[in-house]
């Protein structure tokens, strides 16, 4: 038995990724739960509109961080501010009384606002009046499922080629690297599109999640996000020696996205450093876009930032993955043509 234990430790010591998973993951979980996993909301972005806006803004409890006071704006303008995610709460202050419009797409913030409604103010939750958890989770889960399917299946599919030695065979066939790349990724892209449609329809049908936004914006977000996750999958495959390693890496990339994307815990409640990690994750921006499209009917102009970030991520991640994958298929030419003239893959 002692020999077995010693052997196991020796193997474990040399398996750096498993060690990282065993040591790094608990630390990550601790940091995440300590600094990010907070349901308590201490600051709510607020805009105050209406003729009495200035006076009311001055009397709001401290939790309402008033970012904008617009006495000339109306309730319709306030609704638009919430729709565009420029504020989480809007107070409409009129001589006839005050109304507090609350964005219901962030449940914890909405609940916190409802608990601290100022006196003589009528609260009204918009976009998710019953604060139904499924309404906000389903759009986010679409992203999570695509992320899981996209990264795991793509990375495993590409690594399998390398494990079986068929990648080497492809590299000596009369195929351009782009043919192999597109031929390899296109099926996963189509499966991803299929998943996107099926999960969305199932979400709407099973959980009665409203879809009030533009189908085109939904498609645009879905396609760009798919490029990001497929790029991640290929990138993982290029640094993994086996399917097991690829799955391990994919899961290591998945966990922070679940925790830090705002899908479960509000970004506003996280410590600044942890929140910035969240901003670097594609799921964060996809969740923001999907909740806007599904529940608020947010227009493209207001979603330009999350969409733009996803486009940049798609270009960077997909581009990096393609370059790495291409390197596997066609090795670089030697720097000095007179020293080595095997012009690999030259036209």
């Amino acid at each position: 038995m002692k020999a077995m234990i010693v052997k196991e430790f020796r193997q474990l010591r040399r398996d750096r990724r498993t060690v990282a998973l065993l040591v790094g993951l608990p630390i990550l979980l601790l940091v995440v739960f300590g600094y990010a996993a907070k349901f308590d909301v201490t600051s709510i972005d607020t805009t105050v509109v209406g003729p009495n806006a200035r006076a009311v803004a001055a009397t709001l409890p401290r939790v309402y961080k008033v970012a904008n006071v617009a006495p000339r704006d109306t309730a319709a303008d306030a609704t638009e501010v919430l729709r565009n995610s420029d504020a989480q709460v809007a107070v409409v202050a009129t001589p006839n009384g005050n109304r507090m419009l609350i964005d219901g797409t962030d449940i914890f913030i909405a609940q916190s606002a409802l608990r601290q409604v100022p006196a003589q103010t009528i609260p009204e939750v918009l976009f998710n009046p019953t604060l139904n958890t499924a309404y906000v989770m389903v759009p986010a889960l679409i992203g999570l499922i695509l992320l899981f399917v996209g990264t795991v299946i793509t990375s495993v599919g590409v690594v399998r080629e390398r494990e079986q030695g068929t990648l080497e065979q492809l590299a000596v066939m009369p195929l351009r690297p782009i043919d192999v790349t597109i031929g390899k990724i296109a099926p996963y892209f189509l499966v991803g599109v299929f998943d996107l449609v099926v999960i969305t329809l199932a979400g709407i049908w099973l959980f009665n999640v409203p879809f009030v936004g533009s189908i085109w914006i939904f498609c645009a977000f879905g396609l760009v996000f798919l490029f990001v996750v497929l790029g991640l999958g290929v990138a993982i495959s290029t640094v993994s020696r086996s399917q097991g390693e690829a799955i391990q890496l994919a899961i290591m990339m998945l966990l922070p996205q679940v925790m830090l994307s705002g899908m479960i815990f509000p970004l506003a409640s996280m410590a600044t450093g942890v929140r910035w990690i969240g901003y670097l994750l594609p799921l964060t921006w996809f969740v923001e876009g999907m909740r806007g499209v599904f529940l608020k009917g947010t227009g493209f102009a207001a979603l330009a930032l999350p969409f733009g970030v996803l486009v940049v991520m798609a270009i960077v991640v997909f581009g990096f993955a393609m370059l790495r994958f291409r390197r596997d298929l066609a090795p670089k030419h030697s720097a000095s043509p007179d020293r080595a003239t095997a012009a690999v893959g030259a036209e």
């Binding site: 030695g165 065979q169 000596v172 009369p174 351009r176 030419h333 020293r339 690999v344 036209e347």
Partner: protein
């Protein structure tokens, strides 16, 4: 026509030189055997010829030109691990290869076999190698590169595979075969023997063996002799009632045995092909 010309090619991995200034030529219609023990540099050389690895120095010409992607249509390759999709059937693998090379699938090659519609992973290694060979040749390449094509197959399958390789060369293709099976060396028209990244011998099998000798030791105390030679680091093997010593001169062997008072009759005899290969690899 010379199909492959490799001139002074070197490949370095970090501080390790896997292939060191190697030159090889393969002409159409001939089978060139690339022989050497594991780690001799055969597979690295093959990968450079196929463009899977860029040489650190030296020149490679295929069909008289620098290697291009278009030339790959003229090349058939069977890697050591076969390069077949294990989760596709034999027929599906052949179909994929045929489509990539833009040729009609050979109707009688492979797909008429009883295993045509079996998954590759369920086939014996011999059948897998047969499918891999068919896949690599169905576009009628002018250059066939086979990396350890008979590794792990039965003698019958091996013989069958060599028959097909010969048929292919007779039809005019240049064939480069790497193997560490010394008994297959006779199948090649010419041999290039590699050891530790260098070419240590080349020529026909007869030329490679020619002039090479081993020391034959005849003694009643063959067991003691074997032990003594082993302690002196000499490679020796028992053949009948005599020993055949592959390393060291006849005087060296005589001195080693005399030191332990082992009486023996010693003489130089021609080396077999096996012995020549082992001696070259030392």
């Amino acid at each position: 026509m010379t199909t492959i010309v490799v001139r002074d090619v070197t490949r370095v991995f970090g501080e390790f030189t896997a292939v060191d200034r190697v030159s090889v030529e393969v002409r159409s219609g001939e089978i060139v055997g690339l022989l050497g023990a594991n780690g001799a540099g055969k597979t690295t050389l093959i990968k450079m010829i196929l463009g899977l690895l860029a040489p650190s120095a030296g020149q490679i010409r295929l069909f008289g030109e620098l290697p291009t992607r278009q030339q790959r249509r003229r090349i058939g390759y069977v890697p050591q691990n076969l390069g077949l999709y294990l989760d596709l059937t034999a027929a599906e693998n052949l179909e994929f290869h045929a489509e990539v090379f833009g040729v009609e699938r050979v109707p009688t090659a492979g797909t008429d076999q009883p295993f045509a519609h079996e998954l590759i992973r369920t086939l014996s290694l011999g059948d897998q190698r047969r499918v891999a060979f068919t896949a690599a040749t169905q576009h009628h390449p002018e250059l066939l590169v086979l990396d350890e094509p008979t590794s792990g197959v039965s003698p019958l399958s091996r013989s069958d595979l060599w028959d097909r390789i010969h048929e292919y060369a007779e039809a005019g293709a240049a064939v480069l075969v790497s193997t560490h099976h010394i008994d297959e060396a006779d199948q090649a028209d010419r041999l290039v023997v590699m050891a530790r990244g260098h070419v240590v011998a080349r020529g026909t099998p007869r030329e490679v063996v020619a002039g090479r000798t081993v020391v034959e030791v005849i003694t009643d105390r063959w067991n003691d002799a074997l032990e003594v030679l082993d302690t002196h680091g000499r490679r020796a093997a028992l053949a009948g009632r005599s020993l055949r010593v592959l390393s060291g001169s006849i005087d060296d062997v005589r001195r080693d045995l005399a030191a332990d008072h082992i009486a023996a009759e010693l003489r130089l005899v021609p080396a077999t092909l096996d012995e020549a290969m082992v001696a070259l690899s030392l």
